[in-house]
Symmetry: C2
């Protein structure tokens, strides 16, 4: 069995939301993997050497002990879960195939409904990305960016409603993403608890906050979930600093 | 162990690209699951009854023998792979954790680089969706839709280049999506072969073709992959009919 030090994570010190997913995941698992940081300002991710590790010239990338590479944050995390699967490591992709499917179901929903809109704001109407768009010759659609803000906030509202509904029937009032689906009383379904779906949502809404789209104060059920997850040691250790370099809207 | 007939797939007879993924997957596995078709024109997916199965009122949804439900096509397929895992069933999510991670890596890339652009064309500038946008009060951004066409075609070009590069170093010339990453000669990496990543890409580019954005003729390496996958019995059985109801651009 490989040990954590046999792996290498090509990473970036910038507070981008996607690498942060992997950092939180690793802290939750208690695995310390050596990292090699690429400087994105110096475009170190677009060298011929790095394109051999990641065909798109992106980070993060996980180098395996045999020299192969895996990219994209969720597959990196799930691969590591398969390699560090003793009882001492918490399961963040579910303990059963059902839980695993539901976690992936929610990750896709978050990516389609949350990540997408906030991403469109970021690339179309955020002043901080203008210089990059200009350099790459990428057209910006300011009106679509503005609409994406409204759609993002609409999705947060929907999530708040879903968290509120579930919290009302949960004794502790503490609800995690993978347990949000409605269940008929007659169906005995295992509770899944904290999972990678929470990490993905947390990184996304914190990115939203960092670029000037905080969770509105009245969405109290969503705020409750956010506080619950943010006080976990894997997140609290960041001391609120993970996203502080981001430019606001 | 549950048998296929213990499951129920809430489905739609429309040629939408996402349910088609599940249909091809099931034929590849050789699993016949009973289905209950909802009529989307009659908005049968937005009934209180269906919202209990899928919190977003979407199809497809897989009902499990215990009455629980799983949504989103990739998690549905992967759950079924876990339930029908005897040697007689082909593995479409990889035979190892590495292969599984690479398949998911490519699925995310396809969703972010292919699905997203063709989806933006569909909802912003395709005449067939105008009536739905109007009914739902959703603003359309025609210029962004036009730009998404160009971006979609740019991504197909990129894919063509990637397929071409890999085919040049593959004895048979037959390349599947999950084998597209560059590998250093010194690294011994298993070949993955046909997988769910091919199914996802196929459904996406066929949807593109159906709405008037076919793969340009000069992208011959991408066409080779498309022919290779389209002649599989699981796809050929559709007799080109799966997408024929789609309105063209």
């Amino acid at each position: 069995m490989a040990s954590p030090s046999d792996f290498l994570l090509y990473d970036t010190p910038l507070p981008a939301p996607n690498p942060r997913r992997v950092h939180i995941f690793l802290r939750e698992k208690g695995i310390a993997i050596p990292s090699h940081r690429l400087n994105l300002q110096k475009v170190q991710q677009k060298t011929p050497e790095h394109f051999k590790r990641n065909i798109l010239g992106q980070v993060p990338v996980l180098r395996l002990p045999n020299g192969a590479h895996i990219s994209e944050t969720v597959p990196i995390c799930e691969y590591l879960e398969s390699q560090f699967s003793d009882a001492k490591y918490p399961k963040l992709f579910g303990a059963t195939p059902y839980a695993n499917a539901i976690i992936h179901q929610w990750i896709r929903r978050i990516e389609q409904r949350i990540t997408m809109h906030v991403g469109q704001v970021w690339i179309n109407s955020h002043p901080a990305t203008k210089v990059v768009s200009d350099r790459m010759g990428m057209k910006r659609f300011a009106d679509f960016g503005e609409e994406s803000k409204a759609r993002y906030l609409q999705q947060l509202k929907w999530l708040d409603k879903v968290f509120r509904t579930k919290a009302a029937t949960t004794a502790s009032g503490e609800v995690y993403v993978a347990d949000l689906d409605p269940q008929e009383a007659s169906t005995k379904v295992e509770s899944i608890g904290f999972s990678t779906a929470d990490i993905v949502l947390l990184c996304q809404v914190d990115f939203g906050t960092a670029i000037g789209l905080p969770i509105p104060a009245e969405l109290t059920a969503l705020h409750s979930w956010h506080s619950l997850v943010s006080k976990r040691p894997s997140v609290a250790v960041e001391n609120g600093g993970a996203m502080k370099l981001m430019p606001r809207l």
